[in-house]
């Protein structure tokens, strides 16, 4: 039975933003008195994550993903609520806690720009007080997994974006953290590199039983890596569970692709479901999930059906619909 290592209850994070009135008089006014209003970046979320889980946060920009991640890593104080990561209160930023996790942000580097990545690793060795044997062992392992043996001595600014990301990951994992927070790790990378990074993360998660939380707005990241997905929008959790359950929860309909043997009467077809397309001999029907088997059976009974396909809606489409507010029930 794995332990719960991340425990979040009723987390709220509000930011005070000052709104400047437009124009010159607004500027002058802002010199003397400022009006603030609250931005609810995270608005009452509760999550429990167990050791070894690989969890993905998805949501549109501004949803609260990064804010949540920053709060979990101690970069932000919660406005209210309870957080515990590895038994620590993250915002206290205790060194014992900091030694056990790592944060990687897609567009920000921790590597020294004009030195080889190796130098940053040595620096981290010092910062995290990693014993030399352990350091060498971990380094070799990571370098092999990520296939960067030849790049260790190359200055970071000469590396490609993808190679840099690999080095960032090594720098982040050199101290064998128990928890890894990744904020948009594959952003800007080409498709091949994205795949490589995903494979690496999956492998690392399995071999080290490291808990990995990642945020992304690439569906592929989440599909490939995460069994568990948390959907966030406007600071609220819309869904928390297995990826395939999203479909069940949010996809209220399935699509039936039918090929008929002969001409049929579309009016009769309408009784079974919503006709999305009708080009004889093909037809596409939208049917409520709960009724799919019933409708399928009826179709086969009432119509001369040559071919029948039951199609799941695309996860991307569902998520998109969710964010567009169309499927919130």
């Amino acid at each position: 039975m794995s332990d719960t290592i991340i425990d979040v209850k009723n987390l709220r994070k509000y930011f005070k933003v000052h709104q400047k009135e437009p124009g010159l008089s607004g500027s002058i006014k802002s010199l003397f008195s400022r009006k603030y209003y609250d931005v609810k970046a995270v608005d009452d979320i509760s999550i429990e994550i167990k050791e070894g889980e690989l969890v993905g946060f998805i949501g549109p920009n501004g949803a609260g993903k990064t804010t949540t991640l920053k709060t979990l890593s101690g970069l932000l104080h919660p406005t209210s609520g309870h957080i515990s990561v590895l038994g620590y209160k993250p915002w206290e930023r205790k060194p014992e806690f900091q030694r056990k996790f790592s944060l990687v942000m897609g567009q920000k580097n921790q590597l020294w720009w004009d030195l080889p990545a190796q130098e940053t690793f040595i620096l981290n060795k010092e910062i995290y007080e990693i014993p030399t044997d352990q350091y060498n062992q971990t380094l070799n392992e990571l370098v092999e997994l990520l296939e960067v043996q030849d790049l260790l001595k190359v200055q970071v600014r000469k590396l490609s974006l993808g190679q840099r990301m690999k080095m960032e990951l090594i720098a982040a994992l050199i101290h064998s953290p128990k928890v890894l927070f990744l904020d948009e790790p594959t952003i800007g990378l080409d498709v091949v590199m994205q795949k490589k990074i995903r494979e690496f993360l999956k492998e690392y998660n399995l071999s080290h039983n490291a808990t990995i939380i990642l945020t992304s707005h690439y569906m592929e990241d989440v599909k490939e890596l995460c069994e568990r997905v948390i959907v966030i929008d406007h600071g609220k959790i819309l869904f928390d569970g297995k990826l395939d359950e999203i479909i069940k929860k949010f996809a209220t309909h399935k699509t039936l692709e039918i090929v008929f043997e002969e001409d049929i009467d579309p009016e009769k077809l309408k009784e079974l479901g919503k006709i999305k397309q009708f080009e004889p001999p093909k037809a596409i029907l939208e049917v409520k999930r709960s009724k799919v088997s019933e409708v399928a059976a009826d179709l086969l009974k009432q119509f001369p059906v040559e071919d029948l396909n039951i199609i799941e809606p695309d996860i991307e489409d569902i998520i998109r619909e969710v964010f567009a507010g169309r499927l919130l029930s």
């Binding site: 124009g23 010159l24 500027s27 002058i28 802002s30 010199l31």
Partner: protein, 272 residues
């Protein structure tokens, strides 16, 4: 044709001015620190020369005059303080400069607008400090002449001095086209600003030969000359000579700037 062109330019200026004014509010802290920086010279200058005077030095300006002089340096020197060479440097090095090639807007114009808004703020600030200083130090302004002619001459000279300072700074900025870093030039400028403009040492204290030499450089005309006019230390032929040189340097700076600018643009377009 001509008035229309001017009108359009003025309209653009006005719009730019307004936006920049607002942007300036965002930089309140920056502005505050830079202005404090400008105050240091006159304060130190006054302290040093007063101390010298108190320790028995015989100077060409008595104590009251020293106080008056440095109070005026505080005003004029702060007003004419420029630092936009760094921004020009940044714009060129980051390639931001291209926007000037695309828009019908001249590089100097953009920085000029910023300077104007900057001056307005500075004027406000230095006026407050000036008035405070008057009351704290009981400045009698002995030796300052406020008749119409002197004031007019002073204002004309002030505007010219601003032009010289501005274009000198702009020239330093655009040398970025050829030099890797303008640090060295800025350092030289800073030294010249301290020693040759009268900010730390009243130019009249220099031995005749050196003072003459400085009269031929643009530096006297950035701070010292307008003050000399106001204190009636430049009269008759000296006044004429001074104004001639100030005009000369004003024009020379603008011409040098335009020449270098055009050369620089060509280079920029070649290499990007």
């Amino acid at each position: 044709m001509f008035p229309h062109f001017l009108k359009r330019k003025l309209k653009i200026y006005a719009a730019y001015l307004k936006t920049d004014f607002q942007a300036q509010f965002e930089y309140r802290l920056d502005f505050f620190l830079y202005t404090i920086a400008a105050l240091v010279s006159p304060i130190i200058g006054l302290a040093v020369w007063l101390a010298a005077s108190n320790s028995g030095a015989k100077l060409l300006l008595d104590k009251d005059q020293l106080i008056t002089y440095f109070a005026l340096v505080l005003f004029v020197g702060t007003l004419n303080q420029t630092w936009h060479a760094w921004y020009v440097d940044e714009d060129i090095n980051t390639g931001n400069f291209s926007k000037f090639l695309l828009k019908p807007f001249y590089l100097a114009d953009e920085y000029f607008i910023r300077e104007i808004t900057d001056k307005i703020f500075k004027l406000f600030f230095t006026s407050v400090l000036f008035i405070a200083a008057i009351f704290i130090f009981h400045i009698s302004f002995k030796g300052v002449y406020l008749d119409l002619i002197t004031l007019t001459l002073f204002l004309v000279s002030l505007v010219l001095s601003f032009g010289i300072a501005f274009y000198l700074e702009s020239i330093i900025g655009i040398t970025t086209f050829w030099l890797h870093s303008i640090d060295f030039l800025k350092d030289l400028e800073s030294i010249a600003n301290q020693v040759l403009t009268g900010r730390l040492i009243p130019l009249v204290f220099f031995p005749a030969g050196l003072a003459s030499f400085i009269s031929f450089t643009p530096f006297r005309y950035v701070v010292s000359f307008p003050i000399e006019i106001l204190m009636h230390k430049a009269t008759g032929s000296t006044l004429l000579f001074g104004f001639t040189l100030q005009f000369f340097w004003f024009i020379a700076m603008i011409l040098a700037y335009k020449y270098l600018y055009n050369k620089g643009v060509v280079k920029f377009q070649a290499y990007g």
